[in-house]
């Protein structure tokens, strides 16, 4: 049994707005073991990003608030930690990369300076040592000519290259967990493949875990060992990746898998892409019962009345559905 690095238990991150509480994350539990890649999937607005940011306490408070739950990082709850203690965990133990590589780098410094800065704020290093550390990191993420490229500014890099720089920055302090918040969404497909490949390679080299947040099921199938499917602030299904694609149990998961575009099918039969009808319900006044009920074609009376709990349907496979 592998060591559990991150264990989120019943996390509720709510936001106070003028109209009331938005329950962005409403009782999410998930865990990540050392060395594994966990995929977190779901549509826009279902709480994936808020969950990820909660782990690093990057939520603005107010309006955000931890309503309930624990975030156990190697057995220690991070929610009560002070900002100074959080700064020590950030980058050194847990690092995060964002969706927008085009704007996530500071335009007024060279990339070398930025990587060196991360190194210097966590370790006692001279300027020279930090810069050579930055060169090493750029080499690690396969940027050609790292000795020269460290002196370049972000605008001299392409989107894929900038995401590599972001990964280099995030990994420069050798974190044990990398949270990748839709790292490939802003990139084109071939670059996406390279970045995913790179993350896989880094994971093997540095022995870290990855929490990969995405809405692309294809990406999940390619890279993850386990998958958590989120819907409207809740976990609806959790399974090893083979089980999820081989035997999806929740109607939402089934819908997500069916909505993956397939080049072969579309060309052969001029089939229309299957979409899940409707949109994510308002998290201001979430429905009492199953949150997916309004969009579910199998919905029954009981679905509207009460939220089904997660139940075990196979080894490591849990689903929140009465079916």
């Amino acid at each position: 049994m592998a060591e559990t690095l991150l264990d989120i238990r019943g996390l509720k991150t709510w936001f106070k707005t003028d109209d009331g509480m938005v329950r962005a994350v409403d009782g999410v539990s998930l865990y990540i073991d050392r060395g594994e890649t966990l995929g977190v999937v779901g549509e826009s607005g279902c709480g994936k990003t808020v969950t990820a940011r909660s782990v690093l306490k990057l939520i603005d408070m107010p309006p955000g608030r931890f309503e309930a739950g624990q975030i156990l990082w190697r057995g220690r709850d991070v929610i009560p930690l002070s900002p100074e203690e959080m700064d020590k965990i950030r980058a050194r133990e847990i690092a995060i990369i964002f969706q927008e590589p085009m704007t996530s780098l500071n335009p007024v410094y060279t990339v070398g300076d930025q990587i060196a800065e991360v190194l210097r704020q966590h370790d006692e290093l001279s300027r020279k040592q930090a810069l050579s550390g930055a060169v090493d990191m750029l080499r690690l993420v396969n940027i050609p000519n790292p000795q020269k490229r460290v002196h370049d500014y972000p605008h001299q890099f392409s989107g894929g290259m900038r995401q590599r720089v972001m990964i280099a920055m995030a990994l420069s302090c050798k974190p044990q967990l990398l949270i990748a918040d839709e790292p490939t969404t802003a990139l084109d497909v071939t670059i996406q493949a390279q970045i995913l490949e790179l993350m896989q390679e880094m994971k093997d080299k540095l022995g870290m875990s990855i929490m990969l947040i995405t809405h692309a099921m294809g990406v999940v199938a390619e890279t993850c060992q386990r998958v958590v499917v989120m819907y409207a602030g809740k976990v609806v299904e959790e399974a090893p990746v083979e089980a999820l694609f081989g035997n999806p149990r929740h109607p939402y998961t089934q819908g997500l898998i069916r909505s993956i575009p397939r080049v072969d099918r579309a060309a052969a039969r001029r089939e229309r892409l299957e979409a899940i009808p409707g949109t994510v319900p308002s998290l201001l006044h979430p429905p009492v019962g199953c949150r997916f009920a309004a969009r579910c074609k199998y919905a029954m009376d009981i679905c509207v009345r009460e939220m089904p709990p997660l139940k075990e349907v196979g080894p490591g496979h849990r689903v929140a559905c009465v079916l």
């Binding site: 950030r90 396969n142 050609p144």
Partner: protein, 318 residues
Amino acid sequence: MAGLTPVSLTADPHTAAAVTDAPRKQARFSPTREAWRRFRKHRLAMVSSVVLGIILVAVLLGPLVWRVPINEIDFAAKLEGPSWAHPLGTDDLGQDVLARLLYGGRISLAVGFAAMLVACIMGVLVGAVAGMSRGSVDAALMWLADLFLSLPALPLLLLIIYMFRESLKGVFGPEGGVFIMVVAVIGGLRWMQVARLVRAQILSIREKEFIEAARALGASPVRQVVRHILPNALGPVIVAGTIDVAAAIIAESTLSFLGLGFPPDIPTWGRVLFDAKDTIDIAPHWAIFAGAAIFLTVLTINFIGDGLRDALDPRRVL
């Protein structure tokens, strides 16, 4: 997916190196260098830089070269027009106007730059604190800025100078005391614009992804401001600071013209203008040269500010 990777350009370091090597030699675009390239295209600003440079050199080194004393009284040669002995003529006591303007320029310019520094430092501090703290602290500081903006500057200047001139003279001597007072008063009444600028910049920059990224990688709030936000907010502050130099020079001239600035024996440009006004009908050169010195300096500084604004504005294509 894995099969796609080797297709990429970047996978092969040799070809990539060959492609990127050539252009890199000629251009390494740092923001400073880029701003300089854009600034050079602003012709008026370039001409102004040269003119201001000449004025600065003349004021700094001029008194060492033009060794005529500023207070050598010669009634035989009073109110003379320009001549070889006195290139800019003489005043009502027969003193050399060129020597007096060169010497007084030092003080006028020093007041301008020092007051600008005071205004910028205060403005950046107040603006940064307001922008980062938000909430009630922000509201209070901006309220204070509004309050200062609504004060009529000139009467306030006069009042402060009347109240504190004597006590400051006692502590720092007649010249030092007045210098400190004038700089503090002018700078202290001009920080509001800079504070508002910096606050607005911080409010927009602090929401950018790269600040979030810095925060996610463990940068403390102070570090976020000093290392990441302020350097990005510097452009407008530099422009505002440039304009402030000109405004401070004008303010100092006004004070001197009203006889409230430096003691009468120190010929700042405003003071010279004040002394010249009574004889403007018989000896116009005296007032014209003093006025021209102020006019040229302020005008060139404003043009340079214009050029800097264009050069530092990323939305403008140059």
